[in-house]
């Protein structure tokens, strides 16, 4: 134990017309408190299923998901989620969007206090002055920043990020990576990031988990012991380049391309 997120022997299959489709097979991942876990794997390997299991929106056929030493049996109020699609509510202002989780989790909190909290976060991600804009008036990167604020406004102990930077252009994405590091300093959380971008996983993750192809199991775990905000340059050090090469090879194995090396 000791891990805030503990995924133990999780096996799950979807029921389809053609019979059961196994997506996760004896998956084991442990994420210590305050740590950032990046999960990479071939597409369609069940990564999004994993996020729904952790959020308590689905339950595994076998195995257990533990959060904070408690077995996940239903959705919990201490989870934050952000997706590739920022899913902001178009009829609310940015500020009101960020407040949304507080309305569910802390309905009795005074409105002013909710707004203060939201403003604080928006200014952390550089969105001051945009509080009263509608989502449609913001760029894609700004919307994703607002979505990140919404996912942590209620101080969740677990943050689930399902490819939140996937649809952004390369420069905006790098900006947001740095924002993530800055947020971690001021708003500590334990995070699980699903991503297709190996550079992103190395830059953000304290550990990178490579999942095998479907049905996914834990194929490889890489620790990246480098605390504190990381400079973007770290991606270009020989050490990181080497790590990226290792990860790339692991992905190829997961895709079943280099069977010889998998053995």
């Amino acid at each position: 134990m000791g891990n805030l997120i503990e995924i133990k022997g999780v096996t799950h299959a979807y029921q389809t017309k053609a019979g059961p489709l196994p997506v996760l097979d004896n998956l084991n991942i442990g994420v210590p408190e305050g740590s950032f876990c990046a999960v990479v794997g071939p597409s369609g390997c069940g990564k999004s299923t994993l996020t729904r299991l952790i959020a308590g929106l689905m339950f595994p056929d076998q195995g257990e998901v533990w959060l904070h030493g408690e077995l996940v049996k239903s959705p919990r109020k201490t989870v934050g989620m952000a997706f590739q699609n920022p899913v902001l509510l178009e009829w609310r202002t940015i500020l009101q969007n960020v407040i949304l989780p507080l309305e569910i989790v802390a309905p009795s909190m005074p409105k002013r206090q909710k707004e203060e909290r939201a403003r604080e976060l928006l200014s952390l991600v550089g969105l001051d002055g945009f509080e009263n804009k509608r989502p449609s008036e913001l760029s894609g990167g700004m919307r994703q920043r607002a979505s990140l604020c919404r996912s942590i406004v209620h101080k969740p102990d677990v943050l689930i990020l399902d490819e939140p930077f996937g649809a952004l252009d390369a420069f905006t994405r790098e900006d947001l990576w740095q924002t993530m590091h800055e947020l971690r300093v001021k708003e500590p959380f334990t995070a699980m990031l699903i991503t297709h971008d190996l550079r992103e996983s190395v830059y953000l993750g304290d550990q990178v988990v490579v999942l095998s192809g479907r049905p996914a199991t834990t194929q490889y775990i890489m620790d990246i012991p480098m605390p504190g905000p990381r400079p973007l340059d770290m991606l270009y050090t020989p050490d990181s380049v080497e790590k990226l090469a290792v990860l790339r090879k692991q992905i190829q194995i997961a895709q079943g391309r280099t069977d010889a090396e998998a053995a």
Binding site: A55, L57, K77, V79, E90, W91, I104, H154
Partner: protein
């Protein structure tokens, strides 16, 4: 400000131009009033029967609005049931389509026999029956096409189905709802007049139209049609105003 002037001035000009062309056409062709009445015949007809226009117009208006109100309530309810439950959707959809396909003119005598003498009730019932379908379908589609992520952001916090519906699904459906309401408002109007014309009970603009027809007062018939058009425009723009208030966020060109 300039936009507002344009919004009022341009349509008014169009109406005036239309009236002038209409008048000129009738004068040029030398049509008698039973073929086509000119605006200059219609206006005196309106003035002559003005008190009736107000009285009957009001009867038509309130019964249409009542029918439409029922259609909104019932249509939203059916739409919610269909949008939130796959099974109910499969069960109700063919029934609704079939019901909608029945010409409502044939339903009017049936309803009139079912509720003999209940004129207000019959009229409201037909206005309601003819106009709830688009509302039900739009609400059902709006709810069933809600992206799962929208649900997940609240469900993952332990929010109830009702909270998800109230905070996300319902407001997100509003633009579709108002689109359907614009269709429904004219349909309800047709429903009301249908009853007023088919079943003689001496109420509403439809009745005025019928008496004009019986008395061969052709300018009055045209005057009723114009009055109906005017009422239709008013109702329609009330819906547009409501849409601005409740779903104005969906209009990307406004700001």
């Amino acid at each position: 400000m300039q936009g507002n002037v344009q919004k009022i001035f341009v349509p008014l000009t169009a109406i005036v131009v239309l009236l002038i062309l209409w008048e000129a056409l009738v004068w040029f062709m030398g049509w008698p009033t039973f073929k086509m009445a000119a605006p200059s015949d219609i206006w005196p007809a309106f003035l002559r029967f003005q008190p009736m226009f107000w009285e009957y117009g009001w009867q038509t208006l309130w019964r249409t609005v009542a029918g439409l109100g029922l259609a909104v309530l019932f249509g939203t309810l059916i739409g919610m049931i269909m949008g939130l439950s796959r099974i109910m959707n499969d069960a109700l959809y063919p029934l609704l389509v079939g019901f909608n396909a029945i010409p409502k003119a044939t339903v009017v005598p049936v309803v009139a026999l079912m509720f003999v003498g209940q004129h207000d009730f019959n009229t409201i019932l037909i206005a309601f029956l003819i106009s709830f379908f688009p509302i039900a379908v739009s609400v059902a589609i709006g709810l069933s096409t809600l992206e799962p992520e929208y649900r997940d952001i609240l469900r993952s916090l332990g929010a109830s189905r009702f909270t998800v519906f109230w905070k996300i699904a319902l407001p997100k459906t509003l633009p579709e709802f108002f689109g359907a309401l614009k269709v429904a408002v004219t349909l309800a109007f047709i429903g009301t007049n249908l009853v007023e014309i088919i079943t003689p009970h001496g109420r509403g603009l439809g009745h005025l139209f019928q008496s004009a027809q019986i008395n061969s007062d052709f300018p009055l018939m045209f005057a009723v049609l114009i009055a109906l058009a005017a009422l239709g425009i008013i109702l329609y723009y009330i819906v547009v105003a409501l849409e601005r208030i409740f779903a104005g966020w969906a209009d990307r060109t406004a700001t």
